[in-house]
């Protein structure tokens, strides 16, 4: 079985993940809709997952992929709780604009 990386190269995956991660960051900073921010976070998570898989292949080792499973589990849990919080917020404020959430003021 040949290694796909021989043809594509690990560095391409690194660049791709980096860019994807930065796009996620950009999303988080750019939008004020909490749900879209959530999506951006998912993008970031996926960028990392992609890189984990790439390196798993690079090392020819299953550990990286196992890590991705865990990361997915965490992401699922996070989304579930996060969305529940958003629902609660929405119920109280009638919107989910993060600029309105300023109760953490010191």
């Amino acid at each position: 079985m040949e290694n796909i990386l021989q043809q594509i190269g690990i560095e391409n995956y690194i660049y791709l993940s980096t860019l994807l991660f930065c796009v996620g960051i950009f999303g988080v900073l750019y939008r004020r809709n909490a749900i879209v921010m959530f999506m951006s976070i998912e993008i970031m998570l996926n960028a990392v997952n992609l890189l984990l898989v790439a390196f798993s292949t690079y090392h020819q080792d299953a550990t990286g992929q196992v890590f991705v499973f865990f990361s997915m589990a965490v992401a699922a849990a996070e989304v579930a709780v996060g969305l529940a919080i958003l629902v609660a917020v929405y119920r109280n404020l009638n919107n989910i604009d993060i600029d309105n959430l300023k109760n953490l003021k010191g």
């Binding site: 988080v28 900073l29 600029d99 300023k102 010191g106």
Partner: protein, 626 residues
């Protein structure tokens, strides 16, 4: 045996002190007085046995008790050295001490705290003995501070009067200034010789050990500063006249006969050191001469009977220091002894007068006591003649010796000394005339109560007057027993003046000078019946003299007030500044907190930006910043 006797000598007065402190009130006045007197008399008897022993054997008695202070380079032992000098001192300390105790039994009889008075007197004798018999400088320092303490306690004996307390406090603090000098001197000597024992230092110096001359001079000067404080020399003399606030026996014992001569004792004790520092000797002589002149000048116009005597004491002490500065230790000692006799007699006599007048001390309100107080008058007269330096009274011999030494070494000092002597003769006779001659100037009430003092008061007066009369025999010109006796403790041979023409001429000048002083006093106070003016009417230079050259005021202005001013400055400014600095640190932290708090905007967007930038900085710092 010697050890036990020495301890008895030392602890008899201490036992008297303890008994009087703890049981004096229960014993009653007579018993406590007798107890105190007996305690000192015991010491006197022990001293006498030692004195005879040392005269016979010629060897000092050394007693070493235990190691007291441990220092890196040497130890200081609790030890006593009973040699010719200390025994001579003890003789008159305990002797006059006993007499004054006897006197006090009667004099203090009306005081409710009489047992305390005797306790303090005993304590004083205890410390004085310690001072004198110590075998090293530090034991002397114990006594030195101890007598200062007793002086403080006794000056402030009537502690309800805050003026007296002020005088006591002043005496203590002035003494402490001198004590600091003494202490520094001890440090330097300890550093140089690695010992404080007199014998060790003397041996080291006589064997010609390598010692830095500059440090030696500084040490000698520091010791002299100590002596200045204790013996009331310029510039530390102002406490002594104020010390007259104490009961009169205290003035006689402490501030005339014994404690104030401690400075002379110390310099004589350390004569081997002072001999090697001629510069310091010059300083001592000059200070002594000037003190004697200034004090005599102030004494000319004082109206308080005890103040006159106090200034006269300062003046006579100045003469003694003059002798010390000239290297004539045995003459200084001689004058100390004669002075102790006649000055104690004078003070006790004045006490007798004050006693008769119920506390009146102003000479302007006295006069005419000659008839009523015969014994007091006669003893007073003898002592006055002695202090004025008329032959054959004891004062003549000692004072004459001092002046003769001065004449041979430095004419200027001789002139100053002679001038002081003439003034002494004047003011002493002024005192005598104003007190005992002419008519009584006090109130009718006082006149009614005038009486001769009881026997317990006149007895010491008579003894002291006899001593003042014949005391000169111990060191007659040409054939001095004292010089011979003191020779073992002095590093240099005694001064010996040939009884030649110069000597007789000087004696003549001294006598004529004294007679001039007496004559002036006679013409003014007997012939013209002058009475000193009231305070407000004194003008001109007399006013300056009357106010003691304003020395106290000057000291207050240049030393005491600045210290208080600095104190206020410290309290109001620097304390606030230090405190402000510390609180300032707290305020800065507080401010950082409240400023930093505003960063906490609550805006998630802002946090995210900060978050991202923070991550960037960390990444840059870790991976890129190289």
């Amino acid at each position: 045996m010697d050890t036990n006797l020495a301890l008895l000598l030392l602890f008899a007065p201490f036992a008297g002190f303890l008994l009087n402190v703890f049981f004096g009130k229960k014993l009653g006045k007579g018993a406590s007085g007798t107890l105190g007197t007996l305690a000192v008399a015991t010491s006197f008897v022990v001293t006498l046995t030692f004195f005879l022993q040392v005269i016979n054997t010629g060897k000092p008695v050394m007693v070493d008790l235990f190691e007291w202070l441990t220092l890196a380079n040497f130890n200081v032992n609790f030890g006593f050295q009973l040699d010719q000098l200390s025994l001579l001192w003890l003789m008159f300390v305990t002797g006059i001490g006993t007499l004054i105790h006897v006197y006090s039994i009667s004099y203090m009889h009306d005081d409710e705290n009489m047992h305390k008075f005797f306790a303090y007197l005993n304590l004083f004798i205890f410390f004085m003995i310690t001072l004198v018999i110590g075998s090293n400088l530090l034991i002397m320092f114990i006594g030195w501070e101890g007598v200062g303490l007793c002086s403080y306690l006794l000056i402030g004996f009537w502690y309800k009067n805050q003026d007296y307390n002020d005088a006591a406090k002043k005496a203590f603090i002035m003494n402490r200034i001198g004590d600091l000098g003494f202490l520094i001197g001890i440090f330097i000597i300890g550093y140089l010789f690695h010992s404080l024992d007199y014998t060790t230092i003397a041996t080291a110096l006589s064997s010609g050990a390598e010692v830095d001359a500059t440090w030696l001079s500084i040490a000698a000067l520091c010791l002299f500063i100590g002596a200045c404080g204790k013996s009331a020399q310029l510039p530390l003399y102002t406490w002594l006249p104020d010390a007259m606030a104490g009961p009169t026996p205290v003035s006689a014992l402490i501030h005339a006969a014994t404690m104030v001569t401690a400075g002379i004792f110390m310099v004589t004790r350390m004569n081997f050191l002072f001999n090697l520092t001629p510069d310091v000797q010059t300083v001592i002589a000059v200070v002594g001469a000037i003190t004697s002149l200034i004090a005599a000048a102030i004494g000319l116009v004082q109206n308080d009977i005890k103040k006159v005597l106090a200034y006269s004491t300062v003046s006579q002490l100045g003469l003694m220091f003059l002798a010390l500065g000239l290297g004539a230790y045995e003459i200084a000692v001689f004058h100390v002894i004669t002075h102790a006799f006649f000055k104690a007699c004078l003070f006790l006599g004045s006490g007798s007068v004050i006693h008769a007048l119920h506390g009146e001390q102003d000479m302007r309100n006295m006069g005419g006591l000659k008839g009523v107080m015969k014994i007091t008058y006669i003893t007073f007269l003898i002592s006055t003649l002695a202090i004025s330096g008329l032959p054959p009274f004891s004062g003549f011999f000692s004072k004459d010796e001092i002046l003769m030494t001065a004449f041979h070494q430095n004419k200027v000092l001789w002139v100053i000394g002679s001038l002081a002597s003439i003034m002494t003769a004047f003011y002493m006779f002024r005192l005598l005339y104003l007190t005992f001659y002419k008519d009584f100037r006090g109130t009718e009430e006082q006149k009614h109560h005038l009486h001769e003092s009881p026997g317990l008061i006149t007895f010491p007066l008579i003894v002291l007057a006899i001593l003042a009369l014949v005391g000169g025999v111990i060191s007659l010109p040409g054939n001095s027993w004292l010089n011979h006796y003191l020779a073992p403790v002095l590093a240099k041979p005694a001064h010996h003046h040939e009884l030649d023409g110069t000597a007789y001429m000087l004696m003549g000048i001294a006598v004529v000078g004294a007679l001039i002083g007496i004559g002036v006093a006679y013409s003014k106070y007997i012939k013209q019946s002058a009475v000193p003016a009231q305070d407000s009417e004194i003008t001109g230079f007399a006013k300056v003299l009357y106010n003691k050259f304003y020395v106290d005021e000057i000291y207050t202005a240049i030393i005491v007030n600045p210290i208080y001013a600095i104190g206020s400055f410290f309290r109001d400014v620097t304390e606030a500044a230090f405190s402000g600095f510390i609180f300032g640190l707290g305020k800065v932290a507080n401010m950082l907190g409240s400023e930093g708090k505003t960063l906490q905007t609550g805006s998630i967007g802002f946090y995210l930006f900060a978050f991202v930038l923070g991550i960037c900085s960390i990444v840059v710092y870790i991976f890129l910043a190289k």
